[in-house]
Symmetry: C2
Subunit: 321 residues, 2 copies
């Protein structure tokens, strides 16, 4: 029987592409399940006095169909008139461009936050602009930002990722403020009450990691009554998108579908996975994953179009049943 | 002998046009005087989480040569992509448009204020972008906003002025927070040490008024060792720009060069004026003004071009010797 409620944990781009497929698949069912996405806030940052939430925006824009597919971030057809002014004024980071349409969202979010709304209420209000088909919830309303430990000190994840293109050797990652953070309203309930919990093919260290690290979230996943199934963000020993390999190397994990599955670990052994979907080229990893207590299956994992994305989502839904 | 330092008190558009002429005139002198403009902040407002300072911006843009002359506000060649987004998000006031280039300034200002800089320091930093030739200082670093008293309650000046086009009958004006405000650093010094104090042809009620109302400013003008000369914003019984007549009516003052001069009053009688420059069409008011203790002169007061504007400034500088 198809699940009635599905909760997805994840980050930005990979999560967005997966959710598009999952929504496509869900809509093909006689009774489409309700989908909740618990989204990483570790990439969030205050910049030029504005609160920027890259992963939430990436997912919102993609589900709304207004994202810039070619560029991989921001709004399609965006311009940079305001950003050029900010550079003239010497405010913000010159290497971190904010599109004009995108700035509309940042100004709106910041205004609502300054009015006293928690981030989750801001997200609920802003996502109501479009019929997304997925309920978006930040992992936490608290400001928990990822910092990268380098030999020259700690720097904000965005500075490491966007300015240095992850080229500065990372020794580790710190979620500043995470110890006192609490899950946003609805996060734990969405995990506990779901018929299925999915871990999107997101960076396991800096996207999925900070979501699971919010106190209470990892335990909720471990103790969920529903099966927990993840999708490998690694195909054939290479990252599908982004620079996850640098992140994995920093935490001593090999860049492979097998190693990442084992890094997340079987729920039966204290991890968070019941199932792990890998690409066909990684089929050889399936027996070893199964030996680790993780139900595994190799399927085509490249999101090429709506049909292939829906098929991936279906495979994830049906992996552990 | 020409003054070495001139301090001008005023608001937005009329002040900007006067300062352009004064700068033109100053540059024609062998030793150009230093010009300081103390600018009204009563029109300032928090909107969409951003601090907007209309009068300071109008003056800055005009002196920088980037203002939209035809429209009368904002940056020339500006667009409204972000504002359109804010309307979609339901943030801000739909009738209060913020241009994209203009928003660059608002974001910058807000960011610096949030960093803890007082407004005067923000203005000093931002005006350094262009060689303005005039030092701009806000009347106060405190948030003192003008509210309009109507039969339906008080509303922010911008709402009354921009949304209602000053058509709601005003019973009076309130500077919220003014009693505990202090002049911004340099304001009193600029008035006390000036060789000449000029009151720009600004709205006497809602532009000049809130500047003089900041505790200490009116007294500094009254006690200044320099002559104090004002320029009438009323020509031939009509306002040159804006809707000053509604404001004057609300405080029981006739819309005439004579009445406004007498409203500001002679310093010898507790007011703020030594001299008052009126337009040629108001020449008949000169004897009555002089009888009130105010040196008056009628000259062409329309700012038509650089030459006529410089001539007006020269007449103001030379009125009281």
């Amino acid at each position: 029987m198809a699940p009635r409620t599905i909760t997805v944990l994840g980050g930005g781009v990979g999560n967005a592409r997966f959710l598009l497929g999952l929504r496509e698949y869900a809509r093909s069912l006689p009774e489409p399940p309700e989908i909740t996405a618990v989204v990483n806030v570790g990439d969030d940052i205050w910049l030029a006095g504005l609160r920027i939430t890259p992963d939430l925006d990436t997912v919102m824009y993609a589900l709304a169909g207004v994202n810039d597919v070619a560029r991989g971030w921001g709004r399609v057809g965006d311009t940079e008139r305001v950003s050029a002014e900010l550079k003239e004024w010497g405010v913000g980071w010159p290497w971190f461009t904010l599109g004009d349409l995108d700035l509309g969202a940042h100004i709106t979010r910041t205004s609502l936050l300054r009015d006293g709304l928690p981030l989750s209420a801001v997200v609920a209000r802003m996502t109501a602009r479009w019929p997304l088909g997925v309920r978006l919830v930040p992992s936490t309303d608290d400001e928990v930002e990822t910092y990268v430990v380098t030999d020259d000190g700690e720097l904000h994840f965005q500075e490491w990722w966007t300015r240095h293109r992850a080229a500065l050797p990372a020794r580790g990652f710190v979620s500043r403020g995470v110890s006192s953070a609490v899950p946003a309203p609805g996060v734990l309930e969405a995990i506990e009450s779901a018929d299925l919990v999915l871990l999107a093919p997101s960076n396991p260290v800096v996207s999925l990691g900070p979501v699971l690290e919010v106190p209470g979230v990892r335990d909720a996943v471990r103790q969920a009554s529903a099966p927990v199934v993840g999708l490998s963000p690694i195909i054939g020993g290479a990252v599908v998108r982004g620079m996850a390999d640098q992140c994995l190397t920093a935490v001593g994990v090999e860049t492979s579908a097998l190693a990442v599955g084992q890094y997340l670990g079987a729920r039966s052994a204290g991890g968070v996975l019941d199932g792990w979907l890998v690409d066909e080229v990684d089929a050889a990893a399936v027996p070893e994953l199964e030996a680790s207590g993780i139900t595994a299956r190799a399927v085509p994992l490249w999101f090429r179009d709506a049909a292939s994305s829906a098929a991936i989502a279906r495979a994830a839904v049906e992996l552990v049943g």
